[in-house]
Amino acid sequence: MSTEAIKAKPKAQDYATDQDVRWCPGCGDYSILKQVQSVFAELEVDKDNTVFISGIGCSSRFPYYMNTYGMHSIHGRAPAFASGLKSINPDLNLWVITGDGDSLSIGGNHFIHALRRNFNLNILLFNNQIYGLTKGQYSPTSEKGKVTKSTPVGSVDHPFNPLALSMGADSTFVARSMDRDPKHLRAVLLRAQEHKGTSLVEIYQNCNIFNDGAFFTFTEKETKGETVLFAEQGKPLVFGANNDKGIKLDGFTPRVVNLSEASANELWIHDETDRVKAGILTRFFDDPSKEGALPRPFGIFYVEQRSNYETEMIAQVNKAVAAKKANLNDLLRGSNTWEIK
């Protein structure tokens, strides 16, 4: 690959490394890697100024496959490494790659604190509702009653709703997409990259070895029409195989209405800057097999402009530097001295 080629217009492959990708054949991670590389090509991302930091898990191998800087760190801690790095070099294009076990179990603390601090970085949360790398134990997002190697008679854990958790941690960018919808994923990634703050993108990812089909109701043609709601800014919340249903807010309670019976201006208009509505939308978390279940929303739920931690930290330092010139001799001397003659 020559420098001129990059300058001309980078291709997605230019962001791939020479390392063999070692995910299981058919794993949803492949599609996410491909979309990230193609978004990078589209944005002509400078690979020397880009860093991927991950924790531990299948998804956390991601940095090895991106021809950028990368750190495959320790389990759950990627946001903590990212916060130190971003404090030192705020201009880096920084991506954190994590999974449901990595970010919501062992790394839960770092995850919520990263969101509230709002460093300017992107967190891609590959949610496959299972521990893949350790060969199939239930995860903090597995549905209650999940039968796995570690729960032969079903798990008794109530699962996390990652997006509701993110809203609770005052995240400034909350979105959901899926591995099986490249177009949607690309659009969300582009917005995440644009956002100045911690962008949290939950990606439903199929682990075809240990949890195959966990999200098929939302990703497959046969079912997704009735179960999936794509939220688009400024547009009414409409779904259904024939786009014949909508969502209406009855006070704070969302209700499914038939478009033939309801008028268009009664419908919930998606506004990604509305915190209260975003909170309600993240709570659309019903088991899709249940009668009367609300559809599962995808898209950008919430966006807020709020100052970044690193910007404020650096401003404090700059202010101190401007106010008082650093003088090492003065520091060594201190304010109270005496002389022995």
Binding site: D48, V51, A80, G84, D91, L331, G334, N336, W338, I340
Partner: protein
């Protein structure tokens, strides 16, 4: 009245009272004044574990011990000559620390029924009738009453008046030791700037204490401690944690790096954070992380980005950081890990001192994960030791442990003011940018030191991946190859061992080769052992002292030096940690001597043990 003056070489005073009695401030002021008069000094504050421990109780007693003299001082002193107690609990806790025949100055107001009850003492107790006080010179002073009388017309409330009673004690001691009050007057004026009433009352009470000494005739003699014969020059006072903070700033400054300090509040390390956060103008970034793990991970992230990453804690926090330290070993990035040790295990004795995390620093990680270790020996040495830790971290591209402990972290001593050009250079070598046409970048190619390049994100042409999985030599790509793993394990170890080639050789602190006994120490026991050994040498005892500061790798000549002695004694404030390393590495029959009370050794304990071993 003409006052007789008695001359003394060394005096140890212990101020004790309730946390709210202003004990630390009184001790600190006496220290500053003594230092300015040219005495050598060493101090040791002893805090209760609870911030607002119940008033008047044994648990709430706070102490400040000060040793000053006209000779060189290396410790805060063994037992004290003068014990100042503000209440009954303070006497109960500290009487054992007073020398036979020593002086007690007791605030009688602190011995009323309520205080006796709080101290769990008999309500009928009186100082006069206490047989245990026979043989001590007891001076009862109703400090509370005298302070109130002094401020009768001030218009201040009783509470505010009582708060200044420590100034009465300070003034009284200033008279006994014939010290001028100017330094404290200046201090009061700047501390209470703009609050003239507080300035006036505090000075008035201090002067009242001084005049009380003059007129009460309780002390017919004043005691004079002449200036010590210490090296000429300009001095300041410094507390160990403060010296460590200044050392970190100085090292980053000399290296031309930003300092990033990722930490989580913990006793007794937090004061380093407090000091650093006030020096942002030196490009210091302090990051109070969500937990101990995030603290070290953020520091590693900062180092990866090209800063001097530092994290600090005490034993329990270091335990939490273990996995990340292993990652830093594997990534081979510069990092300084500060451990201000305290009593353990678990929460242990948070405000007390111990040297019990040496083996944790040495071995407390999974896998083969060698980390260089430097231990400070005194409050001022915290500066030098942490500076060296930074230099090694940056120049050898490795995590480094800096060990301090509660004793030296909170203790203070005079520090001869250094200037910037006396500090050794710290050379930073970032991997240079690379053109596409240049040879491939090899992130794990080593230089003559055995170190890999420090390649920071944002550098053109160096995009590469690192991580905690074993890496192939040179390329850094993931490798599960058995031979490669053995090679990498050895290369990481060699890199650390090789640091010994850049360190000074081990010297004897005192004594000579061939003496009958070598006392071998590390860390904060230095001053106490030095004092004990020198005293015995004056008595003609054949004993030498060596103090190790480079705990890993050990000085190259240490083995040879140890072989020059028949007997080796190793005092440690733990259950025997360094002694295990020495026995293991050099197969010498070193004798452990341990104190595990959360308190430093006394010189007399060391002397007695040396004599026992030699007989």
């Amino acid at each position: 009245m003409t006052v007789v003056k008695e001359i003394k070489e060394v005096v140890t005073i212990l101020f004790a009272g309730d946390s709210g009695d202003g004990i630390q401030l009184t001790g600190g002021q006496f220290t500053d004044t003594a230092a300015m008069l040219g005495n050598d000094i060493s101090t040791f504050p002893n805090f209760p574990a609870e911030i607002r421990a119940p008033i008047g109780t044994v648990a709430g007693v706070s102490g400040f011990q000060l040793n000053f003299g006209s000779v060189e001082i290396f410790t805060p002193g063994d037992q004290c000559d003068v014990l100042v107690v503000m209440n009954a609990a303070a006497l109960k806790v500290n009487l054992k620390s007073l020398k036979p025949g020593g002086v007690i100055i007791a605030n009688t107001a602190g011995f009323d029924k309520k205080n006796l009850r709080l101290a769990k003492m008999d309500e009928e107790y009186t100082i006069q009738a206490d047989k245990k006080l026979d043989g001590f010179k007891v001076h009862e002073v109703d400090v509370t009453k005298l302070t109130r009388e002094t401020l009768e017309s001030s218009g201040l409330g009783t509470k505010a008046v009582d708060r200044s009673k420590n100034m009465f004690v300070l003034g009284f001691l200033y008279w006994i030791y014939d010290r001028p009050m100017d330094n404290t007057i200046n201090f009061i004026e700047s501390k209470f700037k703009g609050k003239q009433d507080l300035i006036d009352t505090n000075i008035k009470v201090m002067k009242a204490g001084y005049h009380y000494g003059e007129t009460c005739e309780a002390f017919p003699t004043q005691i004079e401690v002449k200036p010590a014969d210490i090296e000429k020059g300009v001095y300041r006072n410094v507390i160990g944690n403060q010296a460590a903070a200044i050392g970190l700033i100085a090292a980053a400054n000399k290296a031309g790096l930003d300092l990033f300090y990722g930490t989580y509040p913990i006793t007794p390390a937090s004061d380093i954070l407090h000091t650093l956060s006030r020096h942002k103008n030196f490009n210091v970034k302090t990051y109070q992380a969500e937990d101990e793990i995030a603290a070290i991970c953020s520091a590693i992230g900062a180092s990866y980005g090209g800063a001097l990453g530092v994290t600090a804690s005490s034993g329990p926090g270091i335990a939490l950081k273990g996995e990340a330290i292993g990652l830093a070993v594997s990534l081979e990035l510069p990092l300084v890990i500060v451990n201000v040790q305290r009593g353990g295990p678990s929460t242990g004795l948070p405000t007390k001192t111990e040297q019990s995390d040496l083996l944790q620093a040495m071995y407390g990680r999974n896998g083969e994960a060698p980390v260089p270790i430097i231990a400070a020996q005194s409050p001022t040495d915290c500066f030098d030791a942490v500076y060296e830790a930074c230099k090694i971290a940056v120049e050898h591209v490795t995590p480094v442990f800096f060990l301090s402990d509660g004793f030296i972290a909170n203790g203070s001593e005079p520090w001869k003011v250094l200037s910037e050009d006396q500090l050794s250079d710290i050379t930073v070598k970032f991997a240079p940018p690379r053109e596409e046409s240049d040879a491939a970048f090899l992130p794990y190619q080593r230089d003559e030191k055995g170190s890999r390049p420090w390649a920071i994100p944002g550098t053109k042409g160096l995009a590469h991946r690192i991580g905690g999985i074993e890496k192939e030599n040179l390329t850094g790509n993931i490798s599960y190859d058995p031979d490669n793993h053995e090679l990498m394990t050895r290369l990481r170890q060699e890199k650390v061992d090789n640091i010994a080639n850049y360190l000074p050789e081990q010297k004897l602190d005192s004594g000579k080769e061939g003496d009958k006994l070598l006392v071998l120490t590390w860390g904060s026991t230095y001053g106490v052992v030095k004092t004990a050994v020198q005293d015995l040498q004056k008595e003609g005892v054949s004993v030498a002292h060596a103090h190790v500061r480079y705990m890993n790798p050990l000085p190259k000549n240490l083995s040879e030096l140890l072989k020059k002695f028949d007997k080796i004694l190793m005092p440690e404030m733990n259950n025997g940690q360094f002694v295990r390393i020495i026995r293991d590495k050099f197969l010498v029959p070193a004798i452990p001597f341990n104190k595990i009370q959360g308190l430093p050794f006394y010189s007399r304990e060391i002397k007695a043990k040396i004599k026992e071993v030699l007989n």
